[in-house]
């Protein structure tokens, strides 16, 4: 088997056992990027020399019998929304096209401390606003399963890179589904942890109360390994949760043990809007749990229908404030010949921010404006509380909820770009999880008739990642969807 077919854990163990060197694995990945990424477009930047040097350092330490970290020598990718003190941090935006962050995000520091080899930074919808990666101001990413289709978004580059074996695992960020939906579209595992589980320090903010960093892997175990590395309290992020309140667990430890007395919740009628192929795949997955001895219970989620409306008020309100700093004054794109300082603002932003970003800034600005604040922002916060309540009540009856990640499989490039509302509505299954601040995971659960992957979403209570991963692993152990490879692997991307 080729090196790139190994899972992250297999690779790590092989490197530790000196059966393979990190340099060989890194070269293999860099070679694949060189061959495939011209078409796939998953990476915005690749750190070939740096990655080889890092791999060499790991190999030397292993050869010398020195202790190494849990990701020692494993090539990984990072969504270009997390700051790195090397290379650029663009957020997929022309406004930050040449921005060099002077510091590493906490998750990047943790990856480096775990001896991971960061091979590059991946494409995304500009400032993580989008569901197809088509809103990137810098590059187009395609789905490795079908290059005429989107990889999903906003973390489309990370999902595509993992699916196309251009890295062994990756980090993404999820504000309204931006890890789970591209994981579903690309046939990989994607986990959005509980809000506060992973530090946001160095994650360029979109919707601060919703943003959360999480891993992509080809298996549940790889996702768990990545979570082990990135989870934990960070004094630099006031919203990261203290470990007195919610201790970090070893997410790999009991991963293969099934959950006893498992109760799977299904939200009554909520799946009706999904495509038949998606619905069938979800029902099949739920039946699989039933067959494994789980109880399946119907739960009522009366407020989920309002999630999209609440989300697009809260996320855009926060975004309108978070993105105010891209003004051309201190860093980033500045208009070449402003008449006065007001023009530095208006023209710099006009020139370098994309259409969707402007649309959301305007939405959010409106929602926060005096006279509208109560009707929109405050009301959306109330809806958010009701949705939280729905989940709290649901989890009194079940250990986790099972539902689709998205109503469809990967759609065609360009199919939805002129219909933002349709694009927003495709977030229906993922958004409520961010509003409630709880964890959700997407695991491969089938394919549609066109051979496009479908994801099963499992949602658990806050800080239940360990249990949620075990439940996801139960599904994975009974199925072989995760072992399927996108066509690109066999044929090249041509």
């Amino acid at each position: 088997m080729s090196v790139h077919e190994l899972t992250a854990i297999e690779l790590r163990d092989a490197i530790a056992a000196k059966r393979i060197t990190s340099v060989d694995a890194t070269r293999a990945v860099l070679g694949r990027i060189e061959r495939i990424d011209l078409i796939a477009g998953a990476y915005l930047s690749v750190f070939a020399d740096r990655a080889i040097q890092a791999a060499e350092a790991v190999d030397r330490r292993i050869a010398a019998g020195k202790p190494v970290g849990p990701l020692a020598g494993v090539p990984v990718a990072v969504k270009d929304v997390m700051c790195t003190s090397f290379g650029t941090t663009t957020c997929g935006s022309r406004v930050l096209e040449s921005f060099h962050a002077p510091y590493d995000a906490t998750v990047v520091r943790r990856l480096l401390a775990a001896d991971a080899v960061i091979v590059g930074k991946t494409n995304m919808d500009e400032f993580a606003m989008g569901s197809s990666t088509e809103n990137s101001g810098l590059k187009r990413t395609v789905n490795p399963w079908d290059s005429s289709r989107v990889p999903g978004g906003s973390s489309g580059g990370s999902a595509a890179a993992v699916a196309a074996r251009m890295c062994f695992a990756a980090l993404g960020s999820d504000t309204g589904g931006s890890i789970r939906q591209p994981a579903s579209f690309c046939g990989v595992v994607g986990l959005k942890p509980t809000y506060g589980r992973v530090s946001r320090y160095g994650l360029v903010a979109y919707g601060s109360s919703l943003d959360q960093i999480g891993p992509f892997g080809r298996t549940v175990a790889d996702a768990a390994l990545m979570l082990n590395v990135i989870a934990g309290h960070d004094p630099a992020d006031s919203t990261s949760v203290s470990e007195d309140v919610a201790p970090v667990e070893d997410y790999l430890q009991k991963l293969t043990e099934p959950v006893e007395g498992l109760r799977i919740g299904v939200a009554s009628g909520f799946n009706a809007g999904a495509d038949p192929a998606v619905r069938q795949a979800i029902e099949r997955a739920v039946q699989g749990y039933r067959d494994a001895g789980a109880q399946v219970v119907e739960v009522a989620m009366p407020h989920l229908d309002y999630a999209i409306a609440a989300y697009y008020v809260i996320a855009t309100a926060e975004a309108s404030s978070n993105l105010a700093r891209y003004d051309g004054v201190h860093y980033g794109h500045r208009t070449p010949d402003p008449a006065d300082y007001v023009e530095v603002y208006s023209k710099s932003r006009e020139e370098a921010l994309g259409k969707e970003v402007k649309r959301r800034i305007m939405l959010g600005t409106y929602a926060l404006s005096s006279g509208y604040y109560d009707a929109y922002y405050l009301k959306a916060l109330r809806v958010r509380n009701l949705i939280r309540g729905d989940f709290v009540r649901a989890f009194e009856q079940c250990d986790c909820l099972a539902m689709p990640v998205a109503p469809t499989t990967a759609f065609k490039l360009g199919e939805n770009v002129d219909d933002p509302l349709k694009m927003y509505l495709s977030d229906i299954y993922t958004i409520a999880v961010n509003l409630a601040g709880i964890p959700g995971i997407s695991v491969p659960c089938g394919f549609d008739e066109a051979g496009l992957p479908i994801g099963l979403q499992l949602i658990g209570p806050a800080f239940s990642e360990a249990r949620l991963l075990r439940i996801a692993r139960m599904h994975e152990a009974r199925t072989d969807w995760h072992t399927k490879k996108p066509a690109v692997i066999e044929q090249g991307m041509a």
Binding site: Y103, A205, D237, S238, T239, R325, D327, H330, S369, Y373
Partner: protein, 488 residues
């Protein structure tokens, strides 16, 4: 016009820079006068991805100050973003407190003429981060220095209870004393640690009718003098304007003015208050603050007697003049020193004189407080006792206090060393006096015969004794001896 009367109405907004070790939301040290942009980090630069972390010391200082201003302390307070675009504001929003400030309604006592006081209501007190500074010095482009960005500011807003420029000044000075007493701000005006924005208008009574002039807000005053004069100027300007135009206060006709220090005049900046929409909303990067009763109690235990209370007490307890009491209580270290010296047995008035005439003068010259000059309260008390015991003269006392600062020696050693001990030995002085009397029989006769020049003659004889003792005779003892010998 003769029946026209008017009252000045002023509410004050004050920004006080807290003297925390680090900035409000990051680990950068506070800065003054350093190289531009040398005290900055990703957080106070507002770089993408950076997150604020609340400085607990700033919150404690702010709560302590709010307690001293008798404010209700919020059980739940939070951080809000105030959005506006300006080059000195790197995030284009300021982290501040909107609807739930940490300090609610309170009051401050200010001194008036003649030892009286007045209570001014405080509307609110809240914490926020300062912006940077735009520099317009380098050619065609302006530059921005963000060293100051993120510095913790306590914003205090009073109700419109101030009715004269003097009261406005008194409040500002009193607030300076308070925050210095509490050790929460250096309150150094030169460094911009206190900035004032008075809202001024007039309530005019004419022919039984009442009129209110439009409110003017004078921005960004950073000296007591500018504050007082701008309010006085505004009062006159508004009166003149009213008499000329009859314009009165309406919704939206509040104006914003600046202070032109060279011309001693306010200058119109904005005619109508702009419809500012700061789009406040709770900062999702920070968690709300819910002070525990234990924490509040610990902060409250650091409250001390406030300067004005202390000043009033000095007048009552030590019979000091209001002026002297004001000087001694101007800063906490001086007042503490004074009280320690009194505790150590120095007479209050004597200690007061020594400190105000010599100690504080030297301190000002050298930029030190009294302990900083190397003085000890016990030493000053000893010195005061020596003066009152007649061991040295009052003027010798001042000389010795200066010498104590210079040399660090004890007062008795210095009195001896500098030959400033008074001769009070009645036996020795009597021998000298006898000699003087023997040498000046004509003068003695003038006194004993009750001549009208007797008083002058006594002075002459005393002078002779002083001369023979090189000024060290205790004049009181000599005078008593003279009375005994010649009748007095």
């Amino acid at each position: 016009m003769s029946d026209l009367t008017y009252r000045i109405v002023v509410g004050l907004e004050i920004h006080v820079q807290l003297c925390t070790r680090t900035k409000m939301f990051c680990g950068c040290a506070l800065s003054f006068g350093e190289e531009a942009n040398s005290r900055v980090c990703p957080v106070c630069l507002g770089l993408p991805g950076a997150l604020p972390v609340m400085n607990g010391q700033a919150v404690e200082y702010a709560i302590l100050a709010a307690m001293a201003l008798n404010c209700e302390i919020a059980e739940f307070t939070k951080w809000d973003r105030k959005g506006y675009y300006y080059p000195d504001l790197p995030k284009n929003y300021q982290i501040s407190q909107y609807d739930l400030p940490l300090g609610g309604p309170g009051y401050i006592e200010i001194p008036l003429e003649g030892g009286k006081t007045k209570s001014i209501r405080i509307r609110r007190a809240h914490l926020e981060e300062d912006a940077g500074k735009n520099l317009h010095t380098a050619g065609a482009h302006s530059q921005v220095d963000l060293n100051r960005a993120g510095t913790p500011l306590l914003e205090i807003v009073t109700e419109p209870d101030l009715n004269s420029p003097e009261q406005v000044r008194a409040l500002a000075v009193e607030l300076q004393r308070i925050v210095r007493y509490l050790g929460v701000s250096e309150a150094d005006m030169q460094k911009g640690h206190m900035r004032f924005e008075p809202n001024v208008n007039l309530v005019i009574e004419r022919a039984g009718q009442q009129f209110k002039t439009p409110i003017a807000e004078v921005k960004n005053l950073n000296s007591f003098r500018a504050l007082e004069r701008s309010v006085a100027y505004e009062a006159q300007r508004q009166l003149d304007e009213f008499l000329e135009t009859g314009k009165t206060m309406q919704m939206g006709n509040k104006s914003t003015r600046g202070w032109d220090d060279a011309n001693e005049a306010t200058v119109l900046q904005r005619e109508k208050e702009e419809a500012h929409d700061y789009r406040y909303f709770p900062d999702p990067d920070l968690v709300p603050v819910t002070p525990t009763p234990e924490w509040l109690a610990a902060i409250r235990s650091r409250l001390c007697e406030l300067p004005l209370q202390r000043q009033v007490r000095y007048v009552q307890e030590y019979a000091l003049s209001d002026y002297d009491a004001g000087v001694l209580t101007a800063d906490r270290s001086t007042a503490d020193f004074f009280e320690q010296a009194v505790q150590a047995g120095g007479a209050a008035k004597r200690v007061c004189n020594l400190l105000t005439q010599v100690g504080l003068k030297l301190g000002n010259e050298r930029g030190r407080d009294l302990p900083g000059l190397g003085l000890e309260a016990a030493g000053v008390a000893d010195l005061a006792k020596m003066i009152d015991a007649g061991t040295i003269s009052a003027s010798a006392g001042n000389t010795i206090l200066s010498a104590m600062v210079e040399t660090g020696k004890k007062p008795d050693a210095l009195a001896e060393e500098l030959n400033l001990l008074q001769k009070s030995d009645a036996g020795e002085l009597e021998r000298i006096l006898d000699k003087v009397l023997a040498e000046n029989p004509a003068i003695v006769t003038q006194i004993t015969s009750g001549d009208k020049k007797a008083q002058k003659a006594r002075g002459f004889l005393l002078g002779q004794v002083m001369q023979k003792t090189k000024g060290q005779a205790n004049p009181k003892v000599v005078s008593e001896l003279l009375n005994k010998k010649l009748g007095g």
